[in-house]
């Protein structure tokens, strides 16, 4: 396959940045999207040019490091991570536009690499449980209903890739925040801090300059882990409950 790539190039955080067009030839349909970028980069290095910087780590769809907007869709046309997207999802001769996640909270470091530290700070604000000391409790000491455990687990599969923010027309990080609030809120271990957690995490979310959620649902549609949209409603429920009881003060 021969592909024309339009890639966002930006030398550093203060550079203005621009789209640059590259031809990538002899692309195998079995290559992953990142492997195709590797091929381009090897060529750029040989030609003495700066390779295109992009984030990646496990390349198995479980770490959440990779992620770019491909033809206007976070992680591209398949509902998966960019590393698990293959070139067979495109056709020979396609022109593909590649852009970094666009959000004030995710400033571009270089080319396609953004700083997602805002997510870490949201987790630091309340995405944890108080650590009990002593020996590990018996596995059956605090029973969890199957449905609750499943839901907690579904929410816990969030890998923090940031596609929800990238896809949101408001650049809101609500799905990410809601996934963690739901994960911990469904389990007995998460109860002591439950009311304070939701308020602190949402406050941090807003402080990081993410936009507000308007329930459009693009986040859940592009989420490679299928975090359900209703986690946001669960967060809202917890938040309204917490604010009205005043427990968060």
């Amino acid at each position: 396959m021969n592909i024309t790539l339009r890639v966002w190039r930006q030398k550093g955080p203060d550079d203005k940045g621009r789209m640059v067009t590259y031809k990538v030839e002899d692309v195998s349909p079995d290559m992953s999207f990142l492997e195709m970028l590797d091929v381009l980069n090897e060529r750029l290095i040989l030609e003495g040019e700066e390779p295109v910087a992009f984030d990646h780590d496990c390349r198995e769809g479980i770490c959440g490091a990779c992620g770019v907007v491909i033809d206007g869709e976070a992680h591209g046309p398949e509902t998966t991570t960019t590393c698990q997207l293959h070139m067979r999802s495109f056709s020979d001769g396609d022109t593909i536009t590649v852009e970094p996640w666009r959000a004030k909270a995710f400033p571009v470091i270089k080319d396609l690499v953004v700083d997602r530290g805002a997510f870490d700070r949201i987790i630091q604000a309340g995405g944890y449980i108080s650590a009990p000391t002593g020996t590990a409790p018996d596995a059956h000491a605090s029973p969890v209903p199957k449905a609750d455990a499943d839901r907690a687990f579904d929410a816990a599969t969030c890998i923090g890739c940031g596609a929800c923010v990238a896809a949101c027309p408001n650049a809101s990080g609500m799905l990410f925040t809601a996934a963690k609030v739901t994960h911990l809120g469904m389990l007995p271990q998460g109860q002591p801090e439950r009311e304070a957690r939701v308020v602190q995490m949402v406050n941090q979310h807003d402080e990081e300059d993410f936009g507000g959620c308007t329930n459009i649902g693009e986040c859940a549609a592009v989420c490679p882990k299928g975090i359900p949209l209703d986690t946001i409603s669960q967060l809202n429920r917890d938040l309204l409950g917490s604010l009205s009881s005043g427990a968060a003060e």
Binding site: V69, G72, A171, F210, T214, I216, D230, Q234
Partner: protein, 216 residues
Amino acid sequence: MALKSAMAVTGVILVLFLIAHMYGNLNAFAGQEAFDTYSHHLRELGEPMLPHGGFLWIMRVVLLASVLIHTYAAVALWRRAGRARPVRYQVTKRVQRSYSSYTMRYGGIMIALFTVFHVLHLTTNTIHPGGRSESPYERMVAGFQPEFWYVTLFYVAAVIAVGFHLRHGIWSALATLGINRQSRQRSLNIIATVIAAALTIGFLLTPLSVTFGLVE
């Protein structure tokens, strides 16, 4: 969050008002007397506990406050969204979002402008195509005559905009108030569509019936 809750609650108030407003409009099909009496009774509602027109003024204050809060919250969230994405994408694609969800803000502006016109037209009668009248029924019938087709057209466009606005708005308000669950998501969306469609059709019936001579 306070903004979004305010948006949702005031939105619900406005939807409830629209349902009552549509019921009032449909009285037109029962003739001039029924329509004018209904309008008159609105002013007598709550008497003698309330002064003449007292109920109506309470409603007006509540509605105006709702509209102002709704608008303020919308503008604040809009500005926040703008700040949250200072560099825009070169290519964007709708994955699943509906037409109504991405026209909320522009639709809202159109509805606000329409509401001003609508109040000047049929409430205060400052704008009076087809002549002034003391009878609300005559004001309405005169305003939607075929020769004022542009007035009717504006109403039709605005009512359709309201329909789209409600389609996403009702769903969004319910989700913001924490009512959405995965098992209910489909039902909530259907409820939003049904209410939006019912209000759109209900509001279109009266002016179009006048224009096409079914109500005289």
